[in-house]
Structures are given as C-alpha cells and as structure tokens.
C-alpha cells in the first residue's frame, strides 16, 4: 500500500502561495483558516528559501497521541484524518503538532476554539466519499477520485510533490543528484565561493539616470 507523503523542494519553491490558494479554493475552507502556508527565511535577501508547510501526515502523529477524545485515524494510504463529529476543539493537537497544521475557527464563548480543521491530503473525512456532508465538513476528496492533492498538482515549479512516498522520494533523489551535494564539486560553496567571480564592482552610488 502506498504511503502518501508531501515533500517541498526548497530549491524550487518561489513563494507564490499558489498551493495555499489552490487548497482554499478546492476545499472551500472558511475565512481565517489556512490548511497550508508558505514560510520564507532570509526574505528579500540573497539565500532566500521558502517551504510550503501543511499537515505532514506523520506515521506517529503527535496530534493523535494527545487528543483527549481520540478522534484521529490513519487511512491505509497513510493519511492522518480526524472525525469532526468527535472533535471538541480543545486545541491540544495544535500544541503538539510540530508543523502548526491544526487550525481552529472561533467556536463559542470567550473566542474559544471550534472544531479543528486541517489538511486532509485531499482525502475528505470519515463520511461517505464525495458526499455533500463530507465536502461541507472536510472539503474535497480527490483521493477517492484517483487524484492527488490539488496544492501539489497546481505547483508551478513542481516544488511541492505529493503522492506515494517511494515515488516522491525517487523524484527528489534524482533532482538532488543532478544538483550535486553541498560543499563539493559544483555546489554553492564552489560556484559562489570565489571572491573573483562574485566580488562587487564598486557600483555603489552609480545609476544610469544620474549621468
């Protein structure tokens, strides 16, 4: 049985947030809820890198371990889902999750949490496949239609990969080998390490419009 995985290639992600938008549209998640987000480091500087983060569908899911009502389950595809009819919106999964995947709409008094919402790997929930109720509560069930998550399918640079973990890792391994590993050969440290190539040309203060 395939074990479904997400993988985001930081050398390809261009922080376009297309995955975030695709997810919101496909699953019609409510305002203020984002099942996926793109985080960047060194934003606007050389060496900027971005990653798209959502539920990573852990094998040993912390959310599931700490849930007081035991509402999580893992499908045969290795997708971690939860039952919103059981969830009480306590927020413990949010504390335990390393990825910040669980999201909470405001539910009641004092701005307390409503039932948790998170990435389903476009695999819906425990309700009948592709039923109206399933769509309303969990969003699209693309896996039941033989399709992969829309975030990855829509990724323009194919940075975000989703699917059978073995295939995904093969694709990524091939890419990595083609790029060579850091620190040797044609990797970053060699290509950009020599001052002669990348040194400044003392252009500060110069601009064509000033002539």
């Amino acid at each position: 049985m395939a074990r479904m995985k997400f993988l985001c290639d930081a050398e390809r992600c261009i922080e376009c947030n297309g995955c975030v938008t695709a997810c919101k549209n496909e699953n019609e998640v409510p305002w203020g809820i984002n099942r996926r987000r793109v985080v960047s480091i060194n934003d606007g500087s050389p060496g900027e890198r971005s990653l798209s983060v959502a539920c990573m569908h852990c094998s040993d899911a912390p959310c599931s371990a700490v849930c007081p009502v035991d509402c999580f389950y893992t499908t045969d595809d290795g997708v971690v889902l939860h039952d919103k009819d059981i969830c009480i919106g306590c927020g413990y999964c949010f504390y335990a999750c390393p990825f910040g995947a669980p999201q909470f709409p405001e539910g009641g008094a004092y701005g307390s949490r409503g039932k948790m919402d998170k990435c389903t790997f476009c695999a819906g929930g425990p309700l009948p496949d592709n039923s109206a109720e399933e769509f309303r509560e969990y969003g699209s069930n693309r896996l039941a239609q033989g399709k992969l998550p829309l975030c990855a399918e829509m990724c323009a640079t194919k940075a975000l990969l989703a699917g059978d973990g073995n295939v995904v890792s093969d694709i990524f391994r091939q890419r990595s080998v083609g790029r060579a590993s850091p620190g040797i050969a044609w990797a970053w440290g060699v290509a950009y390490g020599k001052p002669g190539i990348r040194s400044g040309r003392d252009m500060s203060g110069k601009a064509s419009s000033e002539e």
Binding site: N42, P98, G111, G189
Partner: protein, 360 residues
C-alpha cells in the same frame, strides 16, 4: 621517416597531455573545495534546514498567511509537551489520585470515622461567619465542577471511551470543555475571596510544628494541640492560595486563545495547569474526606457555622480555651434558632479569632 617519427612523438605527447587534462581538470573543483573547506560559504539550502529544525534557536521566517506562529516552520517543543502529557502527567497523576484515594480508604478501615470522644455536649461554639461559609461553598462548588470536568478531559480517553463509546464520550467531553471553560474564569474571584476571608489565623507557628509531629492527632490516643486552625488546615489554606493563583493564571492563558499567545506559552501554561490541578485535587481529597464523612461533628462548622463544644475541645483545644474565656461557648440548646440569631446580630466575632491567636 625521421619527420614521421617526430610527428608521432608529438602526437603521443599531445595525447598524453589531453588524457591527463581529461583526468585532472574535473578534479580541480574538488581540490578547490578541499582547500576552501566545505563551510567557506554556507549553502542557503543547508541554512534553511537548520532553520526548519530550529537548530540555531527560534526561526525568524515570514509568511503571507497571518496566523499565530504562522511564520514558524517547526515547533520542536510540541513533542516535548506530548511526552510530558502522555508519559508523565497522565500516568503519574493517575497513580497519585488512585494512591491517595486508596490511602484514605485504608485510613478509614484502620481508624474508622474519627468520633467525638466526649459525645455531643449540646453546647455550641460559633466558628465560621455566614460570609466565610458562602465564599467557601462558592469556591468549593466551582472547584468540584472544574476538577470533575478537568479529569474527564484528562482521563476520559482511557476510562470513559470504553464505557460510553466514541460518540457518547465526545458529547460528554464537549460538555466538560464548555463547562470547564465557562466556570473557570470565575475561580480567580473565588480564590481572592478565600484569601480575604480566611487569611486571618492562618499564619504558621510552633503549635503547627508540634501538631505535625503528632500526625495531626489523627491517630488514636495521640491528641495534638491546635489553635483556631490546625497545621493541616493552614497547609490547605496556603495550598489554596498558591495552587489557586497558579491554576487561575495558567487557566486564563489557556482559556482565551485570542490574544496571540503562541504554542510554547500555551504548552507551558498547560504544564503548570496540569501539575497544579493534580496536586490540588489530590490534596482536596483529604480535605473533603475529613471535613465530611471522616470526622464526627466537623461539617457543621461549614454548614451551620457552629461546632459542638466537645468537638472544639477535642480538635482545637487552644481556640476552645480562648472562646471559653471570651464567653462564646454554650449559647443555647436549640441550635438552629441560635445560629440564625447570632448570624443576624453579629458575625463580627466569628472567624476572626486569629487576632486573639496572635498573642500565642
């Protein structure tokens, strides 16, 4: 011929040169890399993954998605919190609660109900004012509600799901969460009122040390001297103060997730809340037992406001002596009437014998 041989030699040398270059040239970057060392210029890709795992401290990412901790790649403390909750809080707390309950049951079996040795005298001594009793039951009611709903959320998965099924327990847990979160914010008020009304007379002194040395007089034939409050009651009061403040503060942090507090703060708040709650509930078991079914003549102090003179003599001898001197003992035979009248007329004197105790 000579020319041809010379040509061949040159060609051979060129061939050797080309071959050597073919072998050596691709090695140059490796040699350069070797000389530069791998860390000469950090690879941004590697830096990214250090950030992701927060190896160099908190991540300083940015995200277009505006959410609490939205710019954090990975929260490594979530796993630590999970380990605390599942490996420590749940099992150790559970054994503590079961253990103390078993200990109380054992005490009951061995000692039985602590009796009034002298029987009822029919004379009453005023002990708690109506204000003190109202505040006590106000705090006590909220405490029990919070304790029960909190324990449902902490242990229901292991104890109640097998009994009620997932759906049944979900309804129970959802109600528990709502009740817990609705009544919780009132508890700080109860704690403050408790401190204001019960602070007098609760400063520890040497009498308490002796009281503890004699196991609180709980053992048969080993009475321990005490004033208005004994060492156990004083300990319980100060637990209410410390635990009450800690549990209120941490509870408020958890109850209002709308002020942008991050996961790390809430994880710590939950650790404090969980540990203090277990200690608080464990201690309350002893207080509730000895105050109700564990000791003859004790509960009247908090229901009627009066205790029997013999109860006062047996459990709070120093206080009883003071009350006797002040002429507060043995007011009337028909207790309830008198209790009401005394409450109406003056409850100033009640519950404030701490002033007298200060001399001792």
């Amino acid at each position: 011929m000579n020319k041809n041989a010379k040509k061949r030699t040159v060609m051979r040398r060129v061939l050797v040169l080309i071959l050597s270059l073919v072998i050596i040239l691709p090695l140059i970057p490796y040699a350069v890399a070797l000389v530069d060392g791998p860390g000469a210029v950090p690879n941004p890709g590697a830096q990214l993954w250090n950030e992701v795992r927060q190896r160099d401290g908190a991540s300083a990412g940015v995200s277009q998605v505006q959410a609490v901790d939205g710019s954090v790649f990975i929260n490594p403390y979530g796993e630590r919190w999970r380990q605390f909750r599942m490996q420590q809080l749940v099992p150790i707390g559970g054994w503590l609660l079961v253990g103390v309950t078993a200990f109380i049951a054992l005490f009951r079996l061995i000692r039985g109900k602590v009796p009034l040795e002298g029987g009822r005298s029919g004379k009453l001594v005023p002990r708690f004012s109506v204000n003190q009793r109202v505040v006590h039951w106000f705090a006590g009611t909220i405490f029990v509600i919070e304790a029960v709903t909190g324990l449902v959320l902490l242990y229901g998965r292991f104890v109640l799901i097998p009994l009620l099924g997932p759906e049944g327990f979900s309804a129970t847990a959802a109600a528990s969460k709502e009740i817990h979160n609705l009544f919780g914010p009132i508890f700080p008020l109860a704690v403050v009122l408790m401190i204001l009304l019960f602070l007098r007379g609760n400063s520890p002194n040497m009498v308490d040390v002796k009281w503890f040395a004699k196991a609180g007089g709980l053992l048969k034939g080993m009475p321990a001297s005490s004033g208005y409050y004994n060492g156990g009651q004083k300990s319980w009061f100060w637990m209410v103060v410390v635990f009450g403040i800690a549990i209120s503060g941490s509870g408020l942090v958890l109850n209002f997730p709308v002020f942008g507090q991050g996961r790390e703060i809430m994880e710590w708040a939950h650790v404090v809340h969980g540990v203090v709650a277990i200690l608080f509930i464990t201690a309350s078991l002893g207080h509730i037992y000895i105050g109700t079914i564990g000791m003859e003549g004790a509960i009247e102090a908090m229901t009627q406001g009066y205790v029997d003179a013999n109860w006062a003599k047996e459990h709070h001898d120093l206080w009883f002596a003071e009350m006797e001197k002040a002429g507060m003992v043995g007011v009337a035979p028909n207790a309830l009437e008198e209790v009401k009248r005394h409450d109406d007329i003056d409850f100033k004197g009640f519950g404030s014998p701490g002033a007298k105790q200060k001399e001792g």
